[in-house]
Every structure is written in C-alpha cells, then in structure tokens.
Symmetry: C2
Subunit: 507 residues, 2 copies
C-alpha cells in the first residue's frame, strides 16, 4: 500500500494545473567507456593499495570502528586498513543495484540506479541571486520559493533539500523548517539533513509522520547525501549520520569531496583511485549496518585554478574523471551520483552555461544515476540563481531526449517521405513531416530561434532575462499538492516541539 493511494492524492491531480507530470529518464543509449578493462583493473588496484597501505581514519565513532573490525579491517587507533578486495566484497555482496525512493504521489516516485537517472536541484548555497534583487543571503522565504519553482520544473525529479541555506533560521533548527517546506510544497522526493546525527534522526522522524512508520521501515522515502572528509577521513558525525539512515533502511549518498591538488592528488588517476576507495568504505558501512540498505556511490571530484586556488568546474580533467568513475560504479553494480550543472561563474552567463553544459554532458555519458546540483548552481556552489534554475531545467529536458536515443524503425527512415518529396523539393508540408513533426524535436524553452528583427522588436532579451519571466510565472502558478488529513498538523507539532527543546545555535 502506498502512502499516496492511502491518502487519495491522485484524485486531485487534475487540480494540479500548470504543473506537467515529469517525465522519467530511462537511458536507452550506451555508456561511454573511457578505459578498457585493464585500465579499470589498474585504478581498482591503486584504490586497494590506498586502503591497505595508507588506510582510512574514522574520527570519534567507536561503533563504526567496531563494525569494520568485525568485518576484517586492521584497526590501529582511529586508522583502519583493509586487505585488498575486502571493502569491494562487502559492497558487492548486498548493495542493491537500484532502488525506488517513494513519493506520496506514486507518479513522482523515482528509481535510482540501473539505466535510470534522477535530477535534483542545487544544494547548500548560502547565497541566492536573481536579476531583480541581486546577490544576497538566502532565507527561508527564498527556500520556499525555490521548492515551489522546482516542483513545477518538468525535468527535475527530486526536491533535494538545501536549495538555498535559509540563513535567517538558527543552524540547529533550520532542517526542521526546511524539510517541512519540502513535504508541504512538493511531492518530488526530498533529501534529509546530515549536519548532525540528531538532525538525521529528526528527518527520518518527519518522514515517518508523512509516510507512516510501517511504510518507512521497508520503503526508502527519504535519502541523504554526506561528503567524505577527504582525504581518507570519515568524521564521526558523518558516520553516525550514515548509520542512522542505513539503520532505517533509507538511502545514503556517499560522496568523496575532492578538489585535485587540495583534498587529493592533482593528477586525475590518483584522485579517482582515492575517490573510489573513500566511496566504497562509506557504502560498505551502510551494508554493515543493514545489509541491502539503499546506497549510492557518489563523486564530487573537480579541479582548481592554479592562479587562485579556487575550485573550477566543467573542466576536461573533471570530465575524464567522471567517465572513469562511471565505469567503476558499473563494475560494482551500484547506483552512481556524479556531475551537476557546475560552474564557478558569478552570473548565468556564457561561462556558466559552457561549464554547466560540459559538466552535465560528461556526467550523462558516464552514466550518472543521481545528479545533485543539476539546476541553479552558480559561483562554485555559493549561489543559487533563480534564472539559472530554470535555464538548467531546459538543458535537462534536452538531456532526456538525448538519452532516449534514436529510433531506427520504418517510420523513422521515412522512405515514403523520400518517394513523396524526391530530389529538389522540400519536406515542409509532406505527409511524413505532418505525421511526425509534433513529437519530432524537443522544443527548448529558452532556445530563442526567432529572426533578429522579431527578437529586436521584442526587446533584445538575452537568455537570463527570458528566464526571469519564466520562474516568476512558475512561482505564480504553483499549487501545493494537498496532504492527507492530519499530516500537516502532525508535522507542525513535531517541528514546534523540537524547536522549543533547543536554544538557537548559529554555527
């Protein structure tokens, strides 16, 4: 029994005007293989060498250390070393190849893994920017707007969590308000909090309120993303978060966070081997806590500017790393988080679009299954940009079409069309064109292709200006999907009670 059917949301779908049902993305084109098997063997060998010779440290979580000791790790204080193959075996033994994160609207449940890809908006930005109000700290009001806009996007599947940091609410309380916002204003599945173990528990509890405790126990309804303290460290706060979500059977994204030259070597092969080692340890922990718990092999690996030391995005070295990481995830047979619409640009300009398009397309060729930061990311992750959120959505739409592939059937080859039109004429009004044109091409929202004269008369708007009008229309048209009786009140009661139990903390 799903939460949605139980609560009867589907009958209200027709009221959900202005919001198209999102299209699922199931890949029908091949992956891109950068390396042959021997190249992948070499990367795995070096990941194993890192785990055996250097090891991983777990800081301040004896439970996790004991779990790994029991599984065969050699423990030396907080340093854990693993015989070659040990971690891989744990990961491969029980990690699901794909899983469903359930929504209270079953049409919006997402499958993560296999040939499926799920796009989520940007995450964690302290600042927001839009054309009217400029760059400023994000607030809870911004987050509400962004959750609503994201809910209307045709091509994102997931609601994420921190679409911006709501900096006007205390750090130790904001996860409660954030997650309540997501549940209220979107049926795209959300992420839960990870900034402290008790906030993970709060998130799981709120999911229980929405979905019911029984349903949650054997369905993934919330998911969370942690970053590894690269290089080669898991802080205890992180491992505890992992253990809480895994114990509850909820999804965990394990994401090594490596800027080459800082948290890993400047040479991509070494950084990929390190990322592989780090990700596998985190995934292995989920399986030691609860075999079969949904887990995603994550990757945030990019480069930096040698002039400024700042992270750089959409770079060719990062693209090559994505390709390799995709192959390694497929060898493990588990879902991959990779890529995003990344850029270090301050504005949604040519630099931003070029870096974002490159970053996304390499991630798609690599076979990413879950793409956090798929829309809105600006300024190296410091800024969520309202215009870029909808601009990126359009590129995600094109990505859906690309991954759907090319039909090679009788209609697609159009022999009747060639016989009808023949040499020197045109296909504009031909029977084949009339029968096919409506669904032939993706019609881009921001791909302005009118004449210069028309564009001039309409005010010479660039993509950013067109996007400004678009998100405003989406926000105006958003309708919050109704919740079942009592759920909203129960969420409010939980949030209020938890907030009342804490003093505000601002760090």
């Amino acid at each position: 029994m799903t939460a949605t059917r139980r609560r009867g949301d589907r009958s209200r779908r027709s009221r959900d005007r202005g919001v198209k049902v999102i299209q699922k993305l199931e890949r029908r084109i091949p992956y891109y293989d950068l390396f042959e098997e021997d190249g992948l063997d070499l990367i795995e060998l070096h990941a194993d060498r890192i785990l055996a010779e250097v090891g991983i440290e777990i800081w301040g979580d004896e439970v996790t250390i004991e779990l790994f000791r029991d599984a065969g790790a050699t423990v030396d204080g907080q340093r854990l070393r693993f015989d070659p193959g040990l971690v891989t075996d744990i990961v491969k033994r029980t990690t699901p190849g794909q899983f469903v994160q359930h929504s209270r609207d079953p049409e919006r449940s997402v499958t993560i893994g296999g040939d499926h890809t799920v796009f989520a908006p940007g995450y964690g930005m302290p600042f927001v920017r839009d054309l009217d109000r400029g760059r400023r700290y994000g607030t809870m009001a911004d987050l509400e707007d962004l959750v609503k806009i994201n809910h209307t996007l045709e091509w994102t599947h997931h609601s994420g969590l921190v679409i911006c940091e709501p900096t006007d609410v205390a750090v130790n309380k904001r996860h409660l308000d954030m997650l309540a916002l997501h549940f209220r204003h979107s049926t795209k599945p959300p992420l839960g909090a990870i900034t402290a173990p008790e906030r993970a528990l709060d998130s799981i509890e709120m999911a229980r309120i929405v979905f019911g405790a029984e349903h949650l126990d054997d369905h993934c309804v919330i998911m969370a993303n942690i970053n590894v303290n690269s290089p080669l460290v898991y802080d205890g706060a992180v491992t505890k978060v992992i253990r809480h979500y895994a114990a509850a059977g909820q999804g965990m994204v394990i994401c090594p966070f490596i800027l080459g030259g800082a948290m890993g070597p400047v040479t991509p092969a070494g950084a990929v081997a390190q990322a592989h080692a780090e990700a596998m340890v985190g995934v292995a922990l989920t399986q030691l806590v609860r075999p079969g718990a949904p887990a995603i092999y994550g990757n945030f690996l990019t480069t930096m500017s040698l002039r400024s030391g700042a992270p750089t995005f959409g770079t060719p070295e990062a693209g090559l790393a994505y390709f390799a990481v995709g192959q390694l995830a497929r060898r493990l047979g588990i879902p991959l988080r990779c890529g995003g619409s990344f850029t270090s640009s301050k504005l949604p300009d040519a630099q931003a679009a070029s870096e974002s398009a490159t970053s996304l397309s390499t991630a798609m060729m690599s076979g990413a299954n879950f793409v956090l930061h798929a829309a809105g990311w600006l300024e190296g992750g410091l800024v969520m940009d309202y215009e870029k959120l909808v601009l990126d959505n359009d590129r995600l739409g094109m990505t859906h079409v690309l991954l759907r592939g090319m039909a090679l059937d009788e209609n697609a080859f159009a022999m009747d069309g060639f016989h009808e039109v023949g040499p020197g004429s045109h296909f504009l009004g031909s029977a084949h064109t009339l029968a096919n044109y409506e669904h032939a091409y993706y019609e881009a929202t921001f791909g302005d292709a009118v004449s210069w004269e028309q564009w001039h008369e309409e005010g010479e708007m660039d993509a950013r200006q067109r996007a400004n009008a678009d998100w405003k229309a989406r926000l105006a048209n958003h309708e919050s999907p109704p919740m079942a009786a009592g759920v909203d009140e129960a969420l409010t009661e939980f949030v209020d009670r938890r907030k009342a139990s804490m003093e505000d903390a601002w760090y």
Copy 2:
C-alpha cells in the same frame, strides 16, 4: 621541399611574439558508439535504398553525369540511380583515410582524418557583432581583423575563408581579396572559394602562386567546402567546383545541408540515411575525377523550431545524428566533417554557450576530424561575433585536453603522495603536487574562478566583457607572418588583373 623551408619562414618564428604555436589535436580517447553494427547496417541499407529507388539529380553538368554513367549509374535525364553498394565501393576504393593540408609554415600544416581533429573558425556570416559596435554588415576590414585574431588563437588550426562576408566588395570579386588576406595575415591553412567554378579556379591559382605549381600538384595546400543542394540534388555549379578542386588534388569537403523537416525528414534516422547517401555521391565524384584526391565526408544536419521554422542548434536530435554519422564515416574509413560551436542565440549569452558546448561535445564524441564553425558562430550562422570567437577558442582548448585522455602511470596514481599526505591533511604543498601542478590542469582564459569580492572590485565583468578585452589584445599583438620575396607582389598582381577583367556583380 616544402614552401616554408624554401622561403625561410622558420628562422623568423622567434619574431612571432604573442602567438603561441598551436597544439595539434590527436585523439587518445575512444569514440562514442551509439549503435551496434546491425543499427549501422540498417542506416546504410536505407541510404542505398534512397540512391537506388529515388536517386540523386545533377543539374546542369553533363561531365559529372557522364562520369557517374561510366561508373555504373543508371541515368534518366538528370536523375541518377545507383545499385546498392555501388557508391560505397567507389568511395572506399581510393579515398584517403587521412591527408595533410600543408601550410607554408610546416608547423602549421594540419592532418585531417584518422585520430586527428582540426578546428576552423565560423564561415559565411553576412553580419558581424561585437560589444562596442553592435550588429552590422561585415566588411573586408572586419575580415582582416578576424583573420588576424584567428591567427593568434591557440586552439584553432585552420584559417577557414569567409570568417565574415566582406559585403563592401562585389560578390564576384571578394574571393580574391579574401584569400589574399588569409595568405598575408595567417599561416593557418585556408579554404578556397566555392561560389562559382571560376572562383574555385582563381583560388587554386592563388595557391599555386604561394606554394608553386609543382608543389601544389602533389600536395594539398588548399581545401574547399561545398554544401549539397539537399534533398538529393547537386547543382552543376557545385559539381564543377568539386571537379576543379579534385582535379588539382586539393581537398574537398562534401557537406549535405539538412534541416530536418525542410531539406530532409523530421525523423533523425531518415535524415542521417539521406545525408550518408548525399555525402557519398559527392565524395565518389572526387574519386572519379582523380582517384586518391583528398575528400572529407561532411555533415550539417540539424533541427528546426516547430514554432518558427527557424533552424535550431545544439539540440539532442542533432547530437544523436552526429554520433551516427561518426560511426558511418569510420566504417567508410574516411575523414569526417561534423559539428561546430552552433547556436541560434542573438548574443554570446547562456543560450549560445549552452548550445555551442553541447554541439561541440557531441561532435567530439562522434569523432569529427574537421570542425568548421568551431568558433564565433552566432544567430544560426548569420553573425560572426568577435567576443564569441575567443570564448569558443577557450572551449576548444578544453577539448584538446579532454581528447588527450587520462594518464594511468605511476606518477598519475600518486602513491608517494598518499603516503606523504595521509588521511586528514591536504595535498596543497605536497611534493607530488609541487612536481605536477604546473601542467596538471587546463587553465581557462575566461573561466573566472576568483572570489566574488575580487570579481566585484574588478567591475563585475561577465564572460562577454572579458572576451572583449581579449580579442582587442590579440588584434593589437598580431604580426603577419612574413612571405617569401615576390609572393605578395605576385598575389597582388593576380588579384588586380582578375578584378580588372570583371564588372562588379552584387548578387
């Protein structure tokens, strides 16, 4: 003996300040295969069906019709039909898998085909645009600036020809001035004229003046690009141009020009089969004229807006077509022209960069060997944009790095670095980083990654504004590579004589 050594240009290389020697692009990463062999068989089968059942028309060139009749075509007036496999056999028998287009500076000679890729600037735009002067008709002064700027670009290898249309010179004379400009101000190899057969002959004659008649006879020193009169027509003016270049042993790019739904079916598979049929017929003609003549299998296949009927670029359907066309070219074993930095945007904005990046990256995955329109293209090919020319150049630089692949050697795996740094520290000052950082990452020209504060203090410039300063600096620093004694005068004499022999024609 090469033209350059004969004329002693190399000794003057050190004077060529401000111009880095361009890096050749030899691919070391695999191609992307969209289809298995059976899918490709099916496309070839339908191309053969088009050639056998519908055929190709040759309008107004009996010599070409006779060449094909002698080769086995069934001729019915201007309509030619070909038994399955006939055209493929002609193409595969003698077309070179790769060839060199020679420059008078041997370091700037380019190899086209195999694992080599050559980038050329945009071609054929009647308008130019820059941030200071806006959008306006192109002139010969613009073309001179653009040839000079392109000569300074680190990542284009080719000079092209009509970087903009010099609309202030008569249509029947401008090819003479254009080609003279290219020879004078750049040693990147140029294209020759194709707008009329006699202009092709003029172009070849000018190349003879620069390289010597004897050298030209057995070296490709000029190349030309023709568009097919799709669907399924070669105008006689085009086939004569093909015959002139092929007879002189010079390179020919044969480019079907298909906007799906107009010059071909709206379904990509049919458009690809059509393009394959059309391209093969043109390449076959070069081989019938002179077996072994250098020829490139070209492709300009894109989509259109169903709202406006205007061509659209960087679309997923076009990307899928690129992948298929790349595989078909590799089956033939001949060089491929494909892709470009295409966009329909009016400005070098987010739309332009997104479409251009997508278009270029799919072409690179497809294995394009010659990329016309690799830089500067705007507004569906109506506008050459000064800023976008240098913005695109930066993306071409990243493409060089991507196609170079990832090293998997001992240094790249950085085991010494992991032992040195260990868990919880960082690689910033490590011995491995210090030994590798200088050449680790491509340093983008326009990839601004400084802090917001620094960017703000420096005037909040977007990518377009930074590009404006860049092309001006390039133009100021350009030095025309010296020509051998007498060549410049001989070119001038030829151009003046030819121009004096004609009345101005403006259409």
